[in-house]
Symmetry: C2
Subunit: 334 residues, 2 copies
């Protein structure tokens, strides 16, 4: 059973829930817009389902709902944002706005976000940069879930990478992936149903491959691409945490509950002006490559599904599970 909301209704409900938890209006708006954008793209795991935990964390002070992020230009082409233990979304929005100005001159910008929180759909942030003409990359770290290759204890987060670039025609191309083989949520669902998981998804607490979902939750997740993927996980951990001055996955508290200190993870962005390197050929060449892909039967472009769902949501709204909607409505005080 679901309740249908327009995007504006979803954002308004989200803002009310966050206001009731003591979050400032500017921060509540940034967070609610980001979560509803995830819903619209069909990414419910990063949508309004996150709101109860976000609100609980704001009430508990694990995230500072009134934080005012700061931005500093530290060199002609580098920016540093301190999220100040607040939500990631307003801190990232602040940084992205400055990238546009700095990048138009410098040709490339590096932006580190420190003392941050869960940043939702990684691809949405770089998509905004691509809409402004940049080729953009982001690397984020998250609380530990993946063991180092050969080890047995979670040390790294699932550490997403996202990439976006302009095309000559249509919306930007967006690539967005976490580096775990599967989302942890899939293992949680299997554990709830008492089902086995495929070999290769996870290790038990002793570091041995397991098909037992419950044992996997007590153990660690495997990286996509095995040893190669594990090397990429390490790379992202360094870029997102060490390079931004943030905490590593094994130091960070959970995004899902209100216990403990702020997670203080980091995000690292790079934005490149393709006109300064390839020149005007860039966007038509991307289109030529994408045309060569879709000319092969059985292929589709990354993000195609999201864009279709987004268009449908703009027309027809989003469907929120009734239990979640009731929880949010109660939290909103109405």
């Amino acid at each position: 059973m679901t309740v249908k909301l327009t995007l504006d209704e979803g954002i308004a409900l989200g803002r009310k829930v966050l206001h009731a938890a003591g979050v400032s209006d500017a921060n509540a708006t940034a967070v609610a817009q980001a979560l509803v954008a995830a819903e619209a793209d069909g990414i419910a795991s990063h949508g309004l389902s996150r709101l109860p935990a976000y609100a609980d964390q704001a009430r508990a002070g694990k995230v500072d709902g009134k934080a005012m992020p700061t931005v500093e230009q530290t060199a002609p082409a580098t920016l540093r944002v301190d999220a100040r233990d607040g939500f990631a979304f307003p801190a990232i929005d602040l940084g992205l706005a400055r990238i546009a100005a700095v990048g138009a001159n410098a040709g490339v910008v590096a932006l580190g976000i420190a003392n941050s929180h869960h940043f939702g759909v990684a691809g949405h942030h770089v998509e905004k940069l691509a809409e402004r003409g940049f080729v953009a990359l982001v690397f984020g770290n998250s609380p530990s879930a993946i063991a180092p290759w050969g080890g047995s204890k979670p040390l790294f987060g699932t550490n997403p990478i996202a990439f976006a670039c302009p095309r000559a025609t249509g919306a930007p191309l967006v690539v967005d992936l976490s580096l775990s083989k599967v989302a942890r949520g899939k293992i949680m669902v299997a554990a709830q149903k008492g089902e086995a998981i495929p070999k290769g998804w996870a290790l038990d607490a002793g570091g041995h491959p397991t098909t037992d979902a419950k044992a996997a939750l007590d153990g660690s997740m495997l990286a996509m691409g095995d040893a190669k993927g594990a090397a990429l996980v390490l790379m992202v951990e360094i870029l997102a945490a060490a390079l931004t001055g943030s905490q590593f996955g094994y130091e960070a508290s959970s995004f899902f509950d209100a216990k403990g200190p702020p997670p203080r993870v980091g995000q690292f962005f790079l934005a490149i002006d393709p006109l300064r390197i390839a020149g005007p050929s860039f966007a038509p060449r991307v289109d030529a490559l994408l045309a060569a892909i879709v000319a092969q039967p059985g292929t589709r472009l990354p993000g195609d599904r999201r864009l279709k769902l987004r268009a449908a949501a703009r027309r027809g709204g989003i469907a929120v599970p009734a239990a979640l909607h009731a929880d949010l409505t109660a939290r909103a005080g109405g």
Copy 2:
């Protein structure tokens, strides 16, 4: 049977082979140094075994052995190198030298290398930047080997990613991986021996999974990490080729023979000064993360094996297969 050479003897032999093929002294030196550095690290597939094909390509004009690469600063933080259909190594060396000067001021530099060739061990280039204090990334494309996800015909190269960063103690950390599940060489060896390959390595010409090594060579290779890895392959193709103004994998001629026009692939570098973002905490924090990894039994750090082999090669030289050594000596004219 192998012939033992000191590193200097290996470089001298390589230079002679290239001189005999009409390569300029500056270019021959850059190429020979790079190939011997690969040998020293135990990466024979990117070492002197490449030299006969390189020399044949120089003779045929597929690579311009006398090319003089050019570098241009196109914005305060962007550089563009044109390899001018010459070898990649001198072009990259030219770009890396400029990164040091530009990056110290700008805080981050983006460098595109256009009209380039095989760039050998990706990790060696970023390691040089990390030795100068930068956190560095490189993305390269290569002739087509991997089909797009869901498709059946090779479109992308095996597209390496390499990353390096300074540590507080010891040599830089280097991560270096190609995005195919396995090296194509492994499938060639299996085909020669008439052995089967594991499922998941490759597709046949019809796009179906195969364990027949010969069918795999006529088909396409799979990306590491399946659909997620295939998305990364696309990202690297755009960064290395579209963003640098170079040719896509499906447009590029082979690195292994002297047929056809120059491959004109590209490489894209990013170098970030960590002092401008994290500040002086960066290198000690990397060391803390690496210590947390090796504290777990069964783990090792990326590059550990290479560094041990490198130290041994500096003391004891490199072992070149006798047949290759005889070929190189004959090509060197003595």
